[in-house]
């Protein structure tokens, strides 16, 4: 026995959860990327004033849909009885998985309608459901009371910031491939999203001083992970985008140079993937069981 702590005498020490593995991590990563991409393009269209929301130079709705849908498909591998998925909408009042599913249904419907009958109304509906889906995924983890590293109130905010960051990354990749015509606003918006995600991540790592949270998230604070996520996945693209902004404001070049944008986009995608898979697979420890003597 490991002895007493302030909560009582430990009977069972924390063990790693085996229930949700890479399919769940893939669902969260792809779901965040798909919804984030849709929302990012939608917002970038408003702030950037480049009209690509209505003109649709790239089918960003279907791309978002495929990404989110792929995430859901991954879950089929993990669920014990996936053919009963129609029951998923039966607990909408409280279960975040049900809410996530409903948001997905709305998202699919709005994107398909918008694809065939392009209208701002459908785009707005799709954006709203994408936002809700993104937050719902954060609440799914937050509701897992047995996992101290997930059951923290910053989790939905992290899913929001990481979703936008990965959305920015995909947009940068498309811009780099010459599929998006964008102005300076895109770089600035990407920079903001990535910076915010880095701040939220640092807050998450220091969110609680509770022993169970600290030990569960220890793997995420190791030098290699810190370097990989913070330096490579965030600081590096931030630096790149800052250079681009300076270049743009000094009048050297108004558009995003391809290599810079592509490298930034790839680094963010890798960083966000490492964050989410790290949360699900490395820090998913079930809390200890204790008794007061």
């Amino acid at each position: 026995m490991d002895g007493r702590n302030k909560m009582g005498t430990q009977l069972i020490s924390p063990t790693k959860q085996k229930q949700w593995a890479w399919p769940a991590a893939a669902n969260f990563t792809l779901g965040g990327a798909g919804t984030g991409f849709y929302l990012f393009i939608f917002l970038a269209g408003i702030f950037d004033n480049s009209n690509f929301v209505l003109n649709d130079p790239v089918p960003f709705g279907p791309i978002g849909l495929v990404l989110v849908g792929s995430g859901f498909l991954c879950l089929i591998i993990e669920a014990g009885r996936p053919l009963r998925s129609h029951y998923l909408l039966h607990h909408l009042r409280k279960a975040w998985i049900s809410k996530e599913m409903l948001a997905f249904v709305f998202f699919v419907t709005a994107v398909i309608l918008d694809y065939f009958y392009p209208q701002l109304l459908f785009k707005a509906c799709a954006a709203l459901s994408a936002l809700f889906l993104m937050i719902a995924q954060g609440f799914i983890l937050y509701a897992s009371r047995a996992v101290p590293a997930w059951n923290v109130s910053i989790m939905p905010f992290f899913f929001l910031s990481s979703g936008f960051a990965s959305g920015a990354a995909l947009t940068l990749l498309l811009a780099a491939l010459g599929r998006l015509v964008t102005g300076n606003g895109l770089g600035l918006l990407s920079l903001t999203c990535i910076f915010l995600n880095m701040i939220v991540w640092l807050f998450y790592l220091r969110w609680s001083n509770a022993v169970d949270f600290r030990s569960a998230t220890e793997a995420l604070r190791r030098p290699f992970m810190m370097f990989f996520i913070i330096v490579f996945g965030h600081a590096f693209p931030i630096l790149m985008l800052l250079l681009l902004q300076i270049r743009a404001f000094s009048g050297t070049g108004a558009k995003l140079p391809g290599v810079f944008a592509m490298l930034s986009g790839l680094a963010i995608i890798i960083g966000v993937t490492a964050q989410k898979s790290g949360i699900v697979m490395s820090s998913g420890y079930l809390r200890e069981i204790n008794i007061k003597l």
Partner: protein, 209 residues
């Protein structure tokens, strides 16, 4: 309305794990685990075996996360699973702070026909790929009560682990009945619950000393 609860007297428990074996064989699941431990911080150096299953919390964290509504909280306090609705998503496993739930993928678990009362047995196939946990043998309770039996007092209407405990360390009964054995034990002894700080209000109480 009764509130079913269990009291486990750890002073009497000898760690034979009969409760676990009975649950394994008759419920096709293995929803009970027994932890052996030495109380190093107890001056007596007491050896303890702690049997654990679902705590049937009054505020069950597993209930709200279930997306299909397969997890139900009965009015008598029992938390049960509708195996026909469960999709095996595992969200309840990650919400339960007592490690009381698991998904069974093993098709080979024997169903001991003839040993279990027929009304309590369920086909194995229903349990594959879905989440399982201790349900206080509610079907035994319900059937017994229909016959006018009193759960906890009458053998036939009592959960199997309590029924077969060879050390007489497990008690079952109605918390709302002040005359029940469990109410008396809780009144007369110092009891503890697991992970009390979480505020889940378990219906399983332990007597340690």
């Amino acid at each position: 309305m009764p509130h079913w609860a269990m009291v486990i007297d750890l002073r009497k428990c000898i760690g034979c794990e009969t409760c676990r074996h009975v649950c394994d064989h008759l419920n096709d699941g293995g929803w009970r685990q027994v932890m052996d431990m030495v109380m190093k911080d107890n001056q007596k150096g007491q050896n303890l075996s702690i049997t654990m299953g679902c705590m049937h919390c009054a505020v069950p964290p597993c209930l709200d996360v279930c997306p299909t509504g397969a997890t139900e909280h009965r009015i008598d306090g029992i938390v049960k699973i509708d195996y026909r609705r469960c999709i095996g998503c595992g969200s309840c496993i990650l919400a339960c702070p007592y490690k009381a739930r698991k998904i069974t993928f093993d098709h080979k678990v024997p169903h001991q026909k003839g040993f279990a009362p027929e009304h309590h047995g369920r086909k194995n196939q229903d349990r594959i790929g879905v989440c399982g946990k201790c349900d206080f043998c509610f079907s035994l309770l319900d059937e017994g009560m229909k016959k006018g039996l009193k759960p906890g007092k009458d053998f036939e209407a009592t959960p199997l682990c309590v029924r077969y405990c060879i050390a007489d360390a497990m008690y079952f009964g109605d918390l709302n009945d002040t005359d029940s054995e469990v109410s008396r034990l809780i009144r007369e002894n110092k009891t503890s619950c697991l992970n009390e700080e979480l505020g889940t209000e378990p219906s399983v109480f332990y007597i340690l000393e």
